[in-house]
């Protein structure tokens, strides 16, 4: 095999998850078209509105999955991502609710300045909460030298419990206390309309480009691949494995914080129990996108495609009128198929 051919085939494979996304969309599009014609209504799967909804609904899992991609490349895993997202949303809701009451005092409404201040505080506290969750995970894994799976299995319930403690065991509602600026982050039909997709999607794309650049062009990115690929080699080469690991979990925690903000803005409430199971969607997005749980492999483009595939299935099923337990089965099948195809690729390339 010559070098150019090799590169071409590598490129083709790295676009695999994207092709998978197109394929899944086409299949659902075709089915929905037939169903719609049969029911004598307008097909809606391939429409602007549909695209806007799918992308917006992918953004929360997508953002968290960007951080998870970094962790998985470094050979780790984070099972606490879901409950950390919910806890972050809860903390944001709490800042809005109690902060609002405190700033309001005897006045009738908040001034614009006050409401901006409140939002800045809420968002910052949210991001910090996410980062702190990551720091705790990374710190425990590195300093106690424990397996990431076990540590994050533990923090998964710890974060949920903490969230419940903060919220007093009921969801914290902040209706009417959140300025439009913030709640518009997840508006699938954005205003101004030239944005096309929700601001949240744009933020996700910017972060994605950033992560891709970091992975390819920074020392930190190289170290992540080194640690995930062979930790002994990384140590031998003088790479500070402990510090890099703490850093990667903390950065992923920041992404979890952003995802928490996304979760909060949809219903402007924080429910600490809403995160359970979410981590599996996040991990699934990375795995469908070609990430290897053995570490050393993963791509930003693949992860985003993976997140979108999951949403396309959900959205498609709703449009066709298939109940959600079939969605679960389909997503499971896609995960297995994605990994099977990846294994096949490795075997083919080995020959």
């Amino acid at each position: 095999m010559n070098s150019a051919g090799n590169r071409l085939s590598n490129l083709a494979w790295s676009l695999g998850p994207l092709l998978g996304l197109v394929l899944v969309a086409l299949i659902f599009g075709a089915i929905e078209y037939n169903v719609a014609i049969g029911e004598d209504r307008q097909p809606q799967f391939f429409s602007k509105a549909s695209l806007q909804v799918v992308l917006d609904h992918s953004s929360m899992v997508g953002v968290a999955a960007l951080g998870m991609t970094l962790i998985i490349i470094a050979g780790g895993i984070d099972l606490s991502a879901g409950t950390a997202i919910a806890m972050t949303a809860t903390v944001i809701a709490w800042v809005y609710r109690d902060g609002h009451a405190w700033l309001l005092g005897d006045a009738a409404t908040l001034s614009t300045g006050q409401s901006v201040t409140l939002s800045v505080a809420a968002v910052s506290v949210g991001l910090l909460t996410g980062a702190l969750c990551g720091l705790i995970n990374g710190g425990l894994i590195s300093l106690l030298r424990l397996v990431p799976f076990i540590v994050t299995l533990g923090t998964m319930t710890i974060f949920q419990g903490t969230g419940k403690t903060i919220s007093g065991n009921t969801p914290i509602r902040a209706f009417g206390k959140v300025p439009d600026m913030v709640s518009a982050i997840r508006d699938p039909y954005p205003d101004p309309s030239w944005l096309l997709v929700s601001p949240g999607v744009w933020i996700m794309l910017i972060l994605a480009v950033l992560v891709a650049l970091v992975l390819r062009y920074t020392v930190f990115g190289r170290h992540l691949f080194a640690i995930g690929s062979n930790e002994s080699t990384a140590r031998l080469c003088g790479i500070n494995v402990l510090r890099t690991r703490i850093l990667v979990y903390t950065i992923a925690g920041l992404f979890v914080g952003v995802a928490g903000l996304y979760q909060f803005t949809v219903f402007t409430q924080g429910d600490p129990t809403s995160g359970l199971g979410l981590e599996l969607k996040v991990i699934a997005a990375v795995v469908i996108g070609g990430g290897s749980l053995n570490g050393g492999r993963g791509s930003v483009l693949g992860t985003l495609a993976g997140a979108c595939i999951i949403t396309v299935i959900q959205h498609g099923c709703v449009l066709i009128g298939v109940s959600d337990h079939y969605q679960d089965i389909l997503i499971g099948l896609i995960i297995i198929a994605a990994v099977a195809i990846d294994q096949l690729r490795i075997r083919l390339q080995a020959n």
Binding site: M1, R222, F225, A226, N230, T233, A234, L236, G238
Partner: protein, 498 residues
């Protein structure tokens, strides 16, 4: 003499590579056949064809005159062909008996019958001359040598008539090698045909009756070993005359650079005092487990140091890989696969991991500069790869070793800690490594050269130190050692403490 195993006209193509072409091979009962060749010459592919792990495109095989067409490993076993690989195939938590009988258990209506099984296992161990092996010991607790015995016993239980040994001594200590040779000689007396694959011509000379040399997928020569000289075999292997097996580059020792003062690790090494000079190649000899690797790992900070000091250029340093790399040390691991290299990363990454600073500005890398530097490295060491971005796992063993050495050179370290740098690589590449090490010494670098291969230690080192049981026994100029005195010192040290 009728041949036990015959292969003729074997051809095999992988994509664009003709791995084997018209290879013929004949093995008689009660003979030991050496299969020799450089890495990539086709030895492994030929043995894969024999074991049914891959199918030949052309050619025929016969066992005892009966056509043999394996479709998988099980048909090889049915035909009485067994393989003993470098990496043993054992279940470490199962006992000796269970491992020997694995897949061929004696049973009655599905129930394991140990009463019928045991006598067979004992009989086979007797035949191998090792009745002392305890049947209930978990295999994981045995030495590598004893584990090898278990595999051989398993082959005999399966009525193997041809046993293939693939580089069996590369992970064995001195006594275990002797023990293995005795066992193979017993197998020969028993009428079993043995194929022995090895890089070590001395071993081949001692053990084998016949040889077949492969080069570029073809037979470059075959015959009886008696009357064939070593240079003849080497030239068949490399296809040209190798001027020198151990090329040296003139160099002179300068000021001290590395100074170990009563360095002790958790168990081994123990109380090591050693001074290494610039422009010096200091060999470290000893049996497996004598503490040679551990000494390097301790002083580099990969294993914990319990007491003692490491001084680099007169300055005491805390042994930690990062600190030591900054102080100018570099280590090539004995274990390319699990430690030395990140197998699924590119050459570029592997060569520059320990020294990314020249391409980094505020943490951002200049990939073009790095690509150019790596391309230079590859040219300098004659690393054969498609591009700097190819993954290391696709390279041959010799080229992988060169990548590991390239990292050390790229780092421009003053002190090179080389742990078994020529293990598992072919004669031609070995000579290149020796020349490279010599050039580094001539450039004023200091080299600690750990090796189990005595001839190379005596040929290329200035001084050789012998370790035994974690302690430094003796340091002498290389010219003051003989192979015998070196081995005696290594073994004597063991005996003295016991």
């Amino acid at each position: 003499m009728p041949s036990l195993l015959g292969m003729s006209g074997i051809g095999k193509r992988f994509g664009a590579t003709q791995a084997l072409e018209g290879v013929s091979f004949a093995l008689s009962a009660g003979r030991v056949m050496a299969l020799i060749g450089e890495n990539g010459a086709g030895k492994s592919t030929l043995m894969k064809v024999l074991s049914g792990a891959c199918q030949a495109d052309t050619g025929t095989m016969e066992v005892d005159g009966v056509p043999y067409r394996p479709t998988g490993p099980s048909s090889a076993r049915d035909a009485g062909i067994a393989m003993i690989y470098q990496e043993l195939n054992l279940a470490p938590d199962l006992s000796v008996e269970d491992n020997i009988m694995l897949g061929q258990e004696e049973s009655r209506t599905g129930l394991l019958s140990r009463t019928r099984q045991r006598p067979r296992v004992r009989e086979v161990l007797d035949r191998l001359g090792h009745p002392e092996l305890q049947l209930d010991t978990p295999v994981g607790q045995l030495s590598v040598g004893a584990q090898q015995l278990v595999e051989i016993a398993r082959a005999l239980i399966g009525n193997a008539r041809v046993i293939v040994f693939d580089e069996p001594t590369s992970s064995l200590a001195g006594q275990d090698v002797r023990q293995l040779f005795e066992v193979i000689k017993r197998l020969r007396t028993d009428g079993i045909g043995v194929v022995y694959i090895s890089h070590f011509l001395e071993e081949v000379r001692e053990l084998c009756d016949d040889y077949t040399v492969l080069r570029d997928g073809q037979v470059a020569g075959a015959g009886a070993l008696e009357g064939t000289t070593e240079p003849e075999i080497v030239s068949m292997m490399v296809g040209r005359q190798v001027e020198e097996l151990f090329p040296t580059v003139p160099h002179t020792a300068g000021e001290p650079i590395l100074d170990l003062e009563s360095l002790s690790g958790r168990q081994i090494p123990h109380d090591i005092d050693l001074v290494l000079h610039r422009g010096e190649i200091l060999g470290i000899a000893g049996l497996v487990g004598a503490g040679r690797t551990e000494m390097l790992r301790c002083l580099f900070g990969l294993d914990p140091v319990v007491s003692g000091t490491v001084r680099v250029g007169g300055v005491a340093r805390t042994p930690r890989p990062r600190t030591m790399i900054q102080a100018g040390l570099a280590l090539v691991s004995e274990d390319r696969k699990d430690e030395g290299l990140a197998q699924d990363r590119s050459l570029s990454d592997n060569i520059t991991y320990s020294h990314l600073a020249p391409y980094s500005r505020m943490g951002w890398l200049n990939l073009r500069d790095r690509h150019d530097a790596v391309t230079n490295c590859m040219a300098e060491l004659e690393i054969k790869a498609l591009s700097p971005e190819q993954t290391v796992q696709e390279l041959s063993g010799g080229n992988q070793q060169k990548v590991a050495l390239a990292r050390v050179l790229h780092q421009d370290a003053d002190v090179l800690l080389l742990d078994e740098p020529t293990r598992g690589i072919d004669v031609g590449t070995k000579a290149e490594v020796y020349r490279l090490v010599g050039e580094q010494a001539a450039a004023g670098k200091a080299i600690l050269f750990v090796s189990s291969y005595t001839p190379e230690l005596l040929a290329i080192c200035d001084r050789v130190a012998v370790l035994a049981r974690g302690r430094l026994q003796e340091i002498r100029a290389a010219s003051d050692w003989t192979e015998e005195s070196l081995i005696n010192c290594a073994i004597g040290g063991e005996a003295a403490v016991v």
